[in-house]
Symmetry: D2
Subunit: 201 residues, 4 copies
């Protein structure tokens, strides 16, 4: 019997409350009980440690370790200026170059308008791909209409009526569970110190 | 007689020394004397203010005002994970939605390998375009070979032998100077408070 | 006194009638009388010549020469599968590697939903940028609501009420006219035979 | 016992011989015997049928049906102008909007320089993603150095020494085989006639 599966969900919105955080929390709630879960609000990480890449700062260190230990990663980001948030990218920059290797990744975004729907696939997915992700499932983009809960309802009920969300959630769970036997090999195994991209430029 | 032209150069590398900073400084040195210039090292801005978008913090406020006052903007960023640095994106997120309107913009990137050459055009340019930039000139990407100065030489001499750099620099100066009569109209004029993207998501 | 300015507008929709063609035709109608204009419907080019890159076929040859002679180029394409049409890309593939050098380019797209709005900036603009375009102005994307003319009206009247269109049209005319003194140098001047990309792969 | 697995490999290079075709053929050779395989050279499809989307033309019809029947699809394209070939995009435009649903897809590209390495992830992957692909594995990009076989060797031997290729090939086979139980649901099942994108624009 192996280790239990784990999912970490990253929230890259600097604001509180945040619709990104609401969606991502709901995603975690809907995972099967057999999957362990961790929510990381990136704005809980001290800003100075995040931007300087101080990997010894405990909160940042814990967040990086949560990603390392995860089988599945939810990348929850608001779409600002047609791309991911600076907060999310700053955290991603602290991860190893192949920090998504052997993981299933789900890009989840919230934005002010349907016009930003392609930002996840064009602007965020290539970043995650460069990190060696084993399987990046269909992105889920939510605009305000997608998240406006009718009076008397809950976000859970509202999202249950969104077929793209339901489909993507199902894919994520299946991929996290079923793909597990596939190890990521071939690339040299980086140790973190040696691949800090800040050494390069 | 009008106001003198101004260029601001942003350096989005968290490391010191930084090859991005070296290239960007050299660019500023080569501008004609008639153009005023400001170098903004984004890692001089307090990290907490940057990530929380505290527009009252004096260093951040000064950087934003330098962009607002500029006719030309050099976006100098290392390429991390196939895109711009989190530091650069975090600063961009503090600018108004159309914060590049009426400006000439030059994306300048440094990366560990020629394999990242397209990151500026695919990953960074659409961000700047979404901000209403009037004219984004040809990107300039530098890998380590482009920046390794032969013994006894200077970076200035070395770059002078790089035709793509020389060409792009010339374009930038002409575009900053000549395009000036073109105001950006049509979009509602945003005031900063009203367009903080953090309100949206 | 110099040569009169010229604009060529390419229509990359394989269908007739085509909303892309309607928008692009209207754009040509609104150019000042001093600017010469040519409309090229890419589906008038024999398909075999286009896909095999037979540069001796007269219709294809004429289209390529129209681009070469132009100061401004309108790239009119439907958005299919989140990117430009195969017809448009097939024509672009017959142009020299730096076939947009010294030109002002305007990406214009039509799509079934606002959700494809970013396809022009993320999927099409980098292609044009790789061809050395001097100035690619703000893209203009139209979804069906943008093009549904109210009863009794004309497309011209309808578009006149679209500030993004009006703004981009104005930018295009100014850029075609005013930027002209800026030659594209520095890159080796390609002759067409030598740069047929088909030689490479 | 189910149907045998099937892989179709599309070659989008208009030239013969073609390095894209050589790589893709080698990929098919290395698949396990249990997997059926079909190579489709897109330049065998009559150009007129391809560009006009004449789905009754037998060669085009056969190619579309080969994709429909496939569990895995290799998208083999030369990189022209920083993106996929017009020939490949023209064929993709004839497929249904969700024509990659329930399939494992492998983007494979050949280009003149390492500088185009990101074109697959930024320029091609979002297209395939928009078609509902279940799993798009790591892209494989080959520049001329990757494909220059030492004297006395074979392409097979040469590629066997390329760890990124070996890794991606292994992933592709595992994903085609193991992911199969995952049906693509949720999106309305399109019939081809109703989703011809040419209806839209």
């Amino acid at each position: 019997m192996g280790m239990p599966l784990r999912v970490v969900a990253l929230v890259g919105s600097p604001s509180r409350p945040s619709s990104t955080a609401a969606v991502v929390s709901q995603i975690l709630n809907e995972l099967p009980d057999s999957i362990g879960r961790t929510l990381v609000s990136l704005n809980d990480i001290p800003a100075e440690a995040l931007l300087s890449g101080n990997l010894n700062e405990p909160t940042l260190q814990a967040a990086i370790e949560a990603v390392e230990a995860a089988d599945g990663v939810v990348i929850g980001t608001p779409i600002y200026k047609a791309s991911l948030s600076g907060l999310m990218k700053s955290f991603i920059d602290t991860l190893p170059q192949y920090g998504m290797a052997d993981k299933v990744v789900w890009p989840v975004g919230t934005g002010g308008s349907l016009a930003h729907a392609l930002a996840l696939d064009y602007g965020v997915r290539p970043i995650l791909q460069s990190m060696g992700a084993r399987h990046i499932i269909q992105s889920a983009f939510f605009n305000p209409a997608d998240l406006t809960v009718p009076e008397g309802g809950t976000l859970k009920q509202h999202l249950a009526g969104n077929p793209r969300y339901v489909e993507a959630l199902r894919h994520f769970v299946i991929a996290v569970s079923a793909d597990r036997p596939l190890p990521f090999l071939g690339h040299p195994q980086p140790d973190r110190a040696g691949t800090d991209p800040r050494n390069a430029a």
